[in-house]
C-alpha cells in the first residue's frame, strides 16, 4: 500500500462502522455494476447501521432489501456475479450464513474450477462476526477461521479503521469470491484515517507493533487485546511483536515466518473455537516449515469450546482476553 505522506494532510477521525459505510458508498459510486443485497440493508438502515442512508442515496435497485432467504439471495448474488454484476451481498451475521453455506461452498467456491475456468464468481460477502455483546450462542459465533478451510474463496478480517475503509475496494477488484468478516464489537471503535492512504494490500498481513521477544499473531477484535497485552508486557521488558493477519485465506506465510525467525516464539490469539481454528493451521505450518526456528512451544489463545453463553461473566470467560495473553507470554519469555 502507498506509504503515508508528510502531514500535509490531516488524519480523519471516524468509526469502523462509518469506514465500512464509506467503503460501500465509494464502491456504489464508482461502479454501476455494484449493488448491495441483504436483509434490512435498506429501509431498516442495516442491522448494525452500516448501510444507513445508502437507500436514500442510491435507491432500491442498488440497495436491495431481501426477504429472509439466505440460501436464495446468496445464490442469487453468485448468479449475478457470474452474469456480469459485482454484488456486495450482506449476510446479517455469520451465524445465519450456515443457511447459505451450500451456495458458498458448492457453487461460489467451486464453479470457476469445475467449469474449467469458463466462469468467475467476482463478488463480496460481508458479514458480522464475533461475540462480546451478550447475544448468546446463535448470534456469537466466529466462523471466519472455519471458512478459511474452503478453497476457491478469500477471507478478509478487517481489524482497523483503515482496513474497514479500504479492504472492500480491493475485494471488489478481485475476480474471486471474497468474504469480509466485520467484528460486531469493532463497529463502534474510533480511529484516525490517514488521508494519504487510499488502498490496502489484501494479500499481506501487517506488523502492528514491532517486537523482538515473541510474535503475537491475531486479527479482528483480538487485535486490540493483543496490543494492550504487548504494552503491559513492554513495561516488564518483554517486547512482543503484534501481527495482524488481516487475510485468513490465503494466509500470508512470508510475514508470519519472517517474524518467527526473529522472535523464535509464537502465541496465536483467535476468537474462533480452539479445535480446528485458524490458529491451528498457523501452528501446523510453523511446526512443519519453521520447526527449527522455534525455541518454545507454540501457544494458542482461542475461545473456549462452548456455545457462547449469554451471561456477561460467562461470555467473558469464554473469549480470549488480554490477561490470558499476558500470562501466556510470561510463561514463554523470560524478561531481559
Amino acid at each position: 500500500m502507498s506509504a503515508p505522506r508528510s502531514n500535509e494532510t490531516k488524519p480523519v477521525r471516524m468509526t469502523y462502522r462509518e469506514a465500512c459505510r464509506q467503503a460501500i458508498r465509494e464502491a456504489l459510486a464508482s461502479d454501476p455494476r455494484t449493488f448491495v443485497m441483504g436483509e434490512d440493508v435498506g429501509l431498516y438502515g442495516g442491522c448494525y447501521a452500516v448501510t444507513k442512508g445508502l437507500l436514500e442515496e442510491f435507491g432500491p435497485n442498488r440497495i436491495r432489501d431481501t426477504p429472509l432467504s439466505e440460501n436464495a439471495f446468496v445464490g442469487a448474488g453468485i448468479g449475478a456475479a457470474i452474469a456480469g454484476l459485482r454484488p456486495i451481498v450482506e449476510i446479517m451475521t455469520c451465524n445465519f450464513s450456515l443457511l447459505a453455506l451450500d451456495q458458498i461452498l458448492n457453487n461460489a467456491a467451486t464453479i470457476p474450477h469445475m467449469s474449467g475456468g469458463q466462469f468467475a464468481v467476482p463478488l463480496v460477502f460481508r458479514m458480522a462476526t464475533g461475540a462480546g455483546r451478550q447475544l448468546a450462542a446463535q448470534h456469537s459465533h466466529s466462523l471466519e477461521g472455519w471458512y478459511a478451510h474452503i478453497p476457491g474463496i478469500k477471507v478478509l478480517v478487517p481489524g482497523t479503521i483503515e482496513d474497514a475503509r479500504y479492504m472492500l475496494k480491493a475485494a471488489l477488484a478481485d475476480p474471486n469470491p471474497v468474504l469480509i468478516f466485520e467484528h460486531i464489537v469493532l463497529y463502534n471503535a474510533e480511529g484516525d484515517l490517514d488521508p494519504s492512504v487510499t488502498d490496502v494490500d489484501i494479500r499481506a498481513a501487517k506488523i502492528r507493533r514491532p517486537g523482538r521477544d515473541v510474535s503475537l499473531l491475531t486479527y479482528g477484535n483480538s487485535l486490540p487485546k493483543a496490543i494492550a497485552a504487548a504494552e503491559t508486557l513492554s513495561v516488564e521488558g518483554i517486547e512482543a511483536e503484534v501481527i495482524d493477519l488481516r487475510v485468513l485465506r490465503p494466509l500470508d506465510n512470508a510475514t508470519i515466518f519472517e517474524s518467527i525467525a526473529r522472535t523464535r516464539r509464537c502465541v496465536i490469539v483467535d476468537e474462533g473455537w480452539r479445535s480446528g481454528s485458524i490458529s491451528a493451521e498457523i501452528a501446523a505450518r510453523l511446526a512443519d516449515e519453521a520447526f527449527f526456528d522455534l525455541d518454545a512451544p507454540i501457544r494458542r489463545i482461542c475461545s473456549r469450546e462452548v456455545p457462547i453463553p449469554y451471561a456477561g461473566h460467562m461470555e467473558e470467560a469464554a473469549l480470549p482476553q488480554t490477561a490470558a495473553i499476558i500470562e501466556t507470554v510470561r510463561g514463554l519469555v523470560r524478561p531481559r
Partner: protein, 328 residues
C-alpha cells in the same frame, strides 16, 4: 364440537389477566434494560399478547411449544415462571437456562417449552421432530410452533410445512404476522402476503385470524387443536397482529410511521378486553385495580427473585456442552 369459547366473566377476566401479565412484564424489561440489568438483544411482545394467550388456552400439559427469540409472551402464557425468566435475563444461575440463554432462549422442561430459537425459521423443523416423537410416545399431544411472518421466507418453512402434512403430524403452526420482519414490510418480502394461503399448497387447513383479540384466537385455536387431536394432521393459523414497540432495543423504526403505530394501538387487545369487561359490567374498578396490583406484585417478585439470584461459577462454563446423560 362447538368452537365457541365459553365467554363467562371468569374466563374473560382470565384472558385479560394473562395479557396484562405479559404487558407489565415487558414494561419492566424495558426499565431493566435501560438500567443495564438485562443485556444483549431484547424483543418485546407488546401488542401481540392476544396471540400467545389465545393459543395457550387450548394447550394441555402434555402438549409442546416451540417459540422464537420474541418468546416472553409465549413462555408466560404457557406457565413458565416469571422469576426464572427474569433471572435468565439477569444472567443468573436461577434462570430457566442458568443464564446461558438470555431473553431469546427461554427453555423450560416442566412445561415442554422447547425454546426460544433465534434463527428465523429454525424452530419449525424441530417442531416437526417433536411432533414425530409425540405421535409415537404421547398420542394426542400437540406441538404449537410459533413464528413470525418473516419465517415464511425461509426454506425451512417450506420443507417443514410439507413434512408436517405429508406425515400428518400433530403440529399447530402459529404465524404471528405483525406485518414487519425487522424493517422489512411484508409486501416487500412475499409475493403472496396472505401467509395462511401458503398452507393450502401443502393441502394443509389454514385460516387467518384477528390476532388482536384473544377470543377469536382462542376460537380458532379450538378448531385447530380439535382437528389435530382428531388425527387430521397439522393446522395453520395466521394471526394478524402488530408489534407496538421497536423490533429490538436497537431500532430507529425508520420503516413505519407513528400514525400507523397509533392506528394499531387503537386495537390494543388489552384496552379492548378491559372495555368489553367494563361495558358488560363484569368487573368493578376495584377488581381491575386488584388484578393490576396482583400482576405488578408478581412482576416485582420476579425482579426480586432475579436480583437475589447468584451467578453460575465460571468453572461451570463448559458444563452441558456435552451431556453426561439424557435428562428424564
Amino acid at each position: 364440537m362447538s368452537d365457541k369459547p365459553h365467554l363467562d366473566r371468569d374466563h374473560a377476566l382470565h384472558l385479560f389477566r394473562q395479557m396484562l401479565r405479559i404487558r407489565r412484564f415487558e414494561a419492566k424489561c424495558v426499565e431493566l434494560y435501560q438500567a443495564q440489568k438485562i443485556r444483549g438483544f431484547l424483543h418485546l411482545y407488546d401488542g401481540e399478547e392476544a396471540v400467545a394467550v389465545g393459543i395457550m388456552q387450548m394447550l394441555e400439559p402434555r402438549d409442546a411449544v416451540v417459540a422464537t427469540y420474541r418468546d416472553h409472551g409465549q413462555a408466560i402464557a404457557r406457565g413458565v415462571g416469571m422469576g426464572p425468566i427474569m433471572a435468565e435475563m439477569f444472567g443468573k444461575r436461577q434462570g430457566t437456562c442458568r443464564g446461558r440463554g438470555g431473553s431469546m432462549h427461554i427453555f423450560d422442561r416442566a412445561t415442554r417449552f422447547y425454546g426460544g430459537n433465534a434463527i428465523v425459521g429454525g424452530g419449525l423443523p424441530v417442531a416437526i421432530g417433536i411432533a414425530m416423537a409425540d405421535k409415537e410416545l404421547r398420542p394426542g399431544a400437540v406441538t404449537a410452533c410459533f413464528f413470525g411472518e418473516g419465517a415464511a421466507g425461509e426454506g425451512a418453512f417450506h420443507e417443514s410445512m410439507n413434512l408436517a402434512e405429508l406425515w400428518r403430524l400433530p403440529v399447530l403452526f402459529v404465524c404471528e404476522n405483525n406485518l414487519y420482519a425487522m424493517g422489512m414490510p411484508l409486501e416487500d418480502a412475499e409475493a403472496e402476503t396472505d401467509i395462511y394461503r401458503k398452507a393450502k399448497v401443502y393441502r394443509m387447513p389454514g385460516e387467518m385470524v384477528d390476532g388482536m383479540n384473544p377470543i377469536t384466537v382462542e376460537a380458532a385455536a379450538r378448531r385447530a387443536v380439535d382437528s389435530i387431536r382428531a388425527g387430521n394432521g397439522p393446522y395453520f393459523l395466521e394471526c394478524r397482529t402488530y408489534r407496538f414497540r421497536a423490533h429490538s432495543m436497537f431500532d430507529a423504526q425508520l420503516y413505519r410511521t407513528k400514525e400507523e403505530v397509533e392506528l394499531w394501538k387503537q386495537r390494543d387487545p388489552l384496552a379492548r378486553a378491559e372495555a368489553w369487561l367494563r361495558e358488560n359490567h363484569m368487573v368493578s374498578d376495584e377488581e381491575m385495580q386488584r388484578v393490576a396490583a396482583e400482576v405488578d406484585a408478581e412482576v416485582e417478585a420476579a425482579v426480586a427473585f432475579a436480583e437475589a439470584g447468584t451467578l453460575e461459577p465460571v468453572e461451570e462454563l463448559e458444563r452441558f456442552t456435552l451431556m453426561d446423560e439424557v435428562p428424564q
